[in-house]
Amino acid sequence: MKLLYFAWVKQKAGTAEEDVVPPADIRDVNGLITWLKTRGDRYEAAFADLDIIRCAVDQEHGDLNTPIAGAMEIAFFPPVTGG
């Protein structure tokens, strides 16, 4: 599974992109974040306030409850500010 990070989430996570194999019992975005936070301080920092974290699963907007089974690409980013 490919993870992507954008804007300040990328800066805090210290990476733009990484490949991970989360444990098989992780079912949704919320579970994935909980697992990521066990992997180091920079993930703790990136995901400290989930109110300002947005995500996309396979390039479609998702939320904490979106299932991740079969997903190829999951992205984390702040609320968008284009336009």
């Binding site: 992507l4 954008f6 996309a56 992205a75 702040p78 609320p79 500010t81 284009g82 336009g83």
Partner: protein
């Protein structure tokens, strides 16, 4: 039509391309967003536009399809720039063409409201020696929400 590009755009050329040779369009609305030299009370000397290649195009296409489903539109265009921009530079262009002005105005407003809250772009402003990621405006969320039940 959707374009994500570093290059500038020309509003007049885009409108001309959309309407050329057609006599069924009665109303064309354009929205151009530009970089301002202040943000809140902070000076801005340059702006970086980051985006999510792949998803950006898909999301803009979804937003455009939603506008066509809601209003009778002859043509629409969304152009969004990425990379480094300076105050006064163009950021985004939305064009809507319809037989009548109500649809053209409403669809352009809708496209901007949805683009502001759904298209994966992030602005980073520089000024007075520091860089900061722009916070989302609460008003943009409210503006997008008003289309939910229409």
């Amino acid at each position: 039509m959707i374009r994500v590009q570093a290059e500038d755009f020309d509003v007049g050329a885009e409108v001309a391309a959309l309407t050329r040779g057609r006599t069924d369009i009665g109303a064309v609305v354009t929205f151009s967003g530009l970089v301002r030299d202040v943000s809140g009370d902070q000076a801005v000397t340059s702006m970086q536009l980051e985006h999510y290649p792949g998803m950006t195009e898909k999301e803009l296409a979804r937003i455009e399809a939603e506008a066509h489903a809601r209003w009778p539109l002859q043509a629409t265009l969304i152009v969004h720039r990425v990379g480094e921009l300076k105050p006064g530079d163009n950021i985004v262009l939305v064009v809507t063409a319809s037989a009548h002005r109500e649809a053209a105005f409403e669809a352009a407003t809708f496209l901007m409201d949805y683009l502001k809250t759904r298209a994966p772009f992030w602005k980073r402003e520089e000024g007075q020696g520091e860089a900061r990621w722009v916070d989302a405006r609460e008003n943009d969320g409210k503006a997008a929400a008003r289309w939910k039940h229409r």
